[in-house]
């Protein structure tokens, strides 16, 4: 049996081992790589950025807000958490009003964790003024709340995670329903956005965006094409793209432009010690993904070479 025949019969455990090494090494040894942004991510970034108050507008007066819905537990955190903190970082940097909500008990700690992680970098950000955590609401209330927010958010949600009446919070000034809270981002490991598209979008015209794991992203493309989803972050790649957009535009307080993204100065983020790890974890993760993808491609190629050689030999013999 020659080496190619052996490769044909390779025990899958060898493949597992190589994949494990390919994923772990880039995570331990970081290196720079360029992040290319794609349209669904850019679209989402731009709509969120349009919620930012103008230069002479008080943030409190702004009549636009964003709702982040956490519909996942810890198992999909590696992919979804970087998205969540990238978006929160965008909101806090640009003083965009942002709300968080979940119908899963296991997502409530993740929600807190995300807010606190980002808040550390923005000392001016206050709960009730720049953001409100609506907290965990039981699943049975999902439909009543989604529909109720179409009329009056303060009434439908009633109290936030800190036990305060929503109507008494300054952030709620000029925010009534989906006309103002115009974008809902649903982060989910399975099918994101479902109920929001059916109820909040078709009944009240709210925009719905999705943050999904890469496995499920393919499911969401049709919604994206029909416009039922305003934008989408697909897996770690989407998170990495958003991280970059926030760094290039939001932190520098300028508007989106594709031309600016080409500037190579933004490509050394991973080794840049000034950027905290938490805000580049998706990009570091993408390195691992890069290596793993290349690894798999190499495997496929080797497999095919082996296949052709064996076939050629069989032909010669036969």
């Amino acid at each position: 049996m020659n080496i190619f025949e052996r490769l044909q019969m390779l025990d899958r455990r060898w493949i597992f081992l190589v994949v494990a090494v390919a994923i772990i090494v880039p995570l331990i040894i970081p290196f720079n790589s360029k992040t290319y942004t794609t349209e669904p991510t850019e679209k989402l970034y731009r709509i969120i950025d349009s919620f930012a108050p103008g230069p002479d507008e008080k943030p409190i007066e702004k009549d636009r807000a964003l709702l982040l819905v956490f519909t996942h537990d810890a198992s999909t955190m590696p992919e979804l958490f970087p998205m969540e903190i990238a978006i929160l970082r965008h909101c806090f940097a640009r003083n965009i009003k942002v709300f968080t909500l979940t119908f899963l008990p296991s997502a409530a700690p993740i929600m807190d964790y995300a807010i606190n992680t980002v808040k550390e970098e923005f000392p001016h950000v206050k709960s009730g003024e720049h953001y409100v955590n609506f907290g965990y609401k039981i699943g049975a209330l999902m439909l009543p709340i989604i529909l109720g927010m179409g009329e009056d958010i303060s009434e439908a949600v009633d109290i936030d995670a800190e036990g305060r009446k929503l109507s008494s919070l300054p952030i709620m000034k000029n925010i009534k329903n989906y006309n103002e809270m115009n974008l809902i981002m649903d982060f989910s490991g399975s099918s994101a956005g479902g109920a929001w598209i059916v109820y909040a979008r078709s009944k009240f015209g709210a925009n719905v965006g999705a943050g999904v794991t890469a496995v499920m992203a393919a499911d969401e493309y049709p919604y994206l094409q029909t416009g039922q989803l305003t934008g989408m972050l697909a897996g770690l790649k989407g998170a990495a793209e958003y991280e970059k957009l926030v760094e290039v535009f939001a932190l520098k307080k300028r508007e989106f432009s594709r031309e600016l993204l080409k500037d190579p100065e933004y490509d050394n983020a991973i080794t840049n010690p000034d950027i905290p790890y938490k805000f580049k974890q998706a990009r570091i993760g993408m390195n691992a993904q890069s290596v793993a993808h290349i690894m798999i491609i190499v495997f496929i190629l080797i497999g095919n070479i082996g296949y052709f050689i064996t076939k050629y030999k069989e032909k010669q013999q036969g």
């Binding site: 390195n287 290349i294 491609i297």
Partner: protein, 208 residues
């Protein structure tokens, strides 16, 4: 009788709900909401079925000492202890139940999910062979999309690969998906219709 009463219920309710889809009137929505309340009240009872099934299957295994019967003990202990923890100390943050959830359930779920990456690698290694012209196209498309998804690919082959990936995902991929989705939609309607009209009854148990 055993067949006809359930069938009658299925057919009547089925048509009522088809009606609900087309009738936005208050009467129709009120009926739907009323029904939903009942669904909410009824569905928890299903849990009993699940628990009964687990207990019966595993106690039978222990009783007959079938190979690996010891695992069944673990299953039963784990199930009853988790349930007991929930009843005795509640399910809020800080209770043993929550501890089990966070430190046993969640990491084990995440581990199973993470297996996916390894399995995808081994499955693609074995499956992607350029056996025929179609298989070769599939193989090439897979390689391009994989490269297009990661920064390294783009650095190696230029931004063009991004556009090609985008095109593959948005045009041939979506087209075929829509084609399948169309078939699935019609298949669902046809199956539902078969059930509504009482043509398909296998789900009621047994043959025709």
């Amino acid at each position: 009788m055993k067949r006809s009463i359930p069938l009658a219920i299925v057919i009547t309710l089925g048509f009522l709900f088809v009606g609900y889809v087309f009738i936005p009137h208050k009467i129709s929505t009120d009926f739907y909401e009323w029904y939903m309340e009942w669904i909410k009240a009824m569905s928890p009872f299903g849990v009993v079925l699940g628990i009964m099934s687990i207990v019966m299957t595993h106690s039978a295994r222990i009783q007959h000492k079938v190979p690996n019967w010891q695992y069944s003990i673990v299953t039963l202990i784990a199930m009853f202890f988790t349930a007991y923890a929930g009843f005795a100390w509640g399910t809020q943050e800080g209770t043993p139940f929550m501890w089990l959830f966070k430190n046993v359930q969640m990491p084990m779920g995440a581990t199973m999910f993470a297996l996916l990456a390894f399995y995808i690698a081994s499955a693609s290694y074995k499956a992607f062979r350029a056996r025929s012209a179609e298989a070769t196209v599939l193989l090439l498309a897979a390689i391009i999309v994989m490269l297009g998804q990661v920064p390294v690919g783009v650095s190696m082959f230029g931004e063009g690969i991004n556009d090609i990936t985008h095109w593959i995902l948005n045009v041939p991929n979506l087209a075929s998906k829509r084609g399948i989705a169309l078939g699935v939609g019609l298949g669902m309607v046809a199956t539902s219709l078969r059930i509504l009209l009482g043509i398909e009854r296998t789900y009621l148990g047994g043959g025709e």
